[in-house]
Symmetry: C2
DNA sequence: GTGAAAGCGCTAACAG
DNA sequence: CTGTTAGCGCTTTCAC
């Protein structure tokens, strides 16, 4: 204690204002920088006495290692890149939140980047990841991404890339996907079981592969059922457009669908607004089923029957894959999050 | 061109695999590192010829500056810290999205950290900011934060701290707030104007200063109106609790409120669920008004009349303040985002 | 057990 | 106009 008090005085008068660095610590203690460095990391070579001395002073001076120096020296970082088309989206939002939680637990930091659903911005984001020597990157591709070479190139230099949700076709890479087909099949089967025969499917941007996939599977499932289904399909690029399109179908009393399938949360909000604008009651006059991230359908009354593909689950699994990669399992692997049916009162 | 081709061959055979650094560039070009560095930054001293040569090679070798080296050398970074109690919250989410957008525009990167509404985690987050030599930090305090000294200390070392939304009482610091009182007054006045006299106010966690403030202002505004108002107040710590509490009031037919005031989006979702569980119709049987971030009220039908305090506006203003700070305006300043009344059909 | 020394990639005085 | 030099703070080999 006495020694420390002594030091304190000394520091107060001369070095207090100095930034605590290994060099400064070593100077005040009159030992070498390397010894200080080792002591702080509990290197076995260093005597307990020295360790104690060093650590006490370090605490006193609020020593904090300079991450830039460390990263420069070791040529790596504990930063993980996360590149998503957009943050303001239920799915990606919970995806990021899940990764954030895991990252914090395991002492990683996150560089969160959104591509504004723009392939060029995405490339820039990748560059930012490179420049920051990230330890790995999670990426959900934009719908316009044609070229994944830059990603694979980065991976070749030893930086793990985990493609999430929106993944490329190319096989030899790590992918974490939602069970899109499964979710769609579950939805279609629920509709079949409900015995409604006039079906309206409101889908997203027609250019997105996820839209194409869901459309195809949805159609097939209904067709293969041997039931006489009257299926209408429409596409909307936004919640507003979904409202608009849906209203057209609802206003035509002859053709009015008995059940509406919404392929996403965004579509669902649009569709529900359309329904509210009519006098139709759910589920008496019209039924609704959606594929969703899980939160939104519970806001309505009755709650909307939906199939969950969870961004949280996806984020957690992606993170786990990243950690496995970091510990050597670098082979390509495709993992899938299962879909889950959630009974609401809307079907 | 010939020269470049030549270089290419040379690179291909010997240096291609090397990481592009100033050193490597300088070696291949037989000029000094500093000249390369200057050429790349368009330093006026350097001849156009040299600049051209250097830039061509840099492009060819995919040169990317090492941010760690730069930050170490210059002892600063283009990273801004963002510390919020939680991301999964309409308000903070849009707050972050707004900052993200501005940051991207001005070439800053974001270190997004959530404190899980825990003062200790918040302190750790601050430490992460320090360790990363962030150029500034935006912070929305947790409701448990008692001690803001660590923040002020960081500011003393030259790192701007902008307190946002949940700000400390201490005056001598930069704050960006929503006009809480104003939003509450607008809500209360809307209720007074509606001539409903049985009012239920559903508020958030009673320990939060924002709750106290809104409660106090709400009460005062109603009291000062000289109208005979029958006001009930209840508190809920979660959406679920809000549902539960609201149901108790709704089930009692004698006492049933005519209008419900929801102090936040979270509360609003809970209250609406409760209403849905009864046979009551909005606004015929019961009216609703909320203070909100703007998105959620539009999901219901009729849309909920609300007062917007926008996370986006707050984020944008906070970012602007940060930039002003960076360019020298370091004096303490308190800025306020005005509230905006949005007519829905629920009152 | 401890220290000396080299170097990660870059910037910025200073010197020509 | 270009080069030399001295670090930023840290890790790590090698030597004692």
């Amino acid at each position: 204690m006495f020694a420390v008090d002594n030091l304190f005085l000394q520091i107060n008068s001369t070095t207090m204002k100095q930034k605590a660095t290994l060099k400064n610590l070593s100077k005040t203690l009159n030992i070498s920088i390397s010894t200080v460095s080792r002591a702080l990391k509990n290197h076995p070579d260093i005597s307990d006495e020295t360790k104690k001395k060093v650590k006490e002073l370090a605490a006193l001076m609020d020593y904090e290692p300079n991450t830039y120096a460390i990263n420069l020296r070791t040529n790596k970082s504990n930063i993980l890149g996360v590149i998503v088309p957009e943050i303001s989206n239920f799915f990606y939002h919970s995806f990021i939140a899940a990764i954030e939680e895991e990252a914090r637990r395991l002492n990683y930091m996150l560089l969160i980047l959104q591509s504004a659903n723009n392939a060029e911005t995405e490339l820039e984001n990748l560059k930012l990841c490179r420049m920051n020597r990230v330890a790995g990157v999670f990426v959900a591709l934009t719908s316009h991404t044609k070229e994944i070479k830059p990603f694979l190139q980065l991976e070749e230099t030893g930086t793990p890339i985990i493609f999430c949700d929106k993944v490329p076709d190319f096989e030899a890479c790590n992918k974490i996907c939602s069970a899109d087909a499964e979710a769609t099949i579950i939805s279609a089967n629920a509709i079949l079981k409900s015995n409604k025969r006039k079906v309206l499917a409101v889908l997203g941007n027609i250019d997105l592969s996820i839209t194409k996939k869901r459309e195809q599977v949805f159609k097939e499932t209904l067709e293969n059922s041997n039931e006489q289904i009257n299926l209408e399909i429409t596409h909307a690029n936004s919640s507003e457009e979904a409202t608009h399109k849906t209203l057209q179908y609802l206003s035509n009393n002859m053709q009015r669908p008995e059940v509406i399938f919404c392929m996403s949360d965004e579509i669902l909000t649009g569709v529900m607004k359309a329904i509210y604008q009519t006098e139709l009651k759910v589920p008496k006059d019209i039924s609704v089923i959606a594929i969703s991230n899980g939160f939104l359908p519970t806001l309505f009354s009755p709650e909307i029957t939906h199939v969950v593909t969870s961004g949280i689950d996806l984020g957690k699994l992606a993170f786990k894959r990243m950690m496995d990669y970091q510990s050597g399992k670098t082979f390509a692997q495709e993992l899938t999050i299962r879909a889950r049916f959630v009974e609401g009162g809307s079907l």
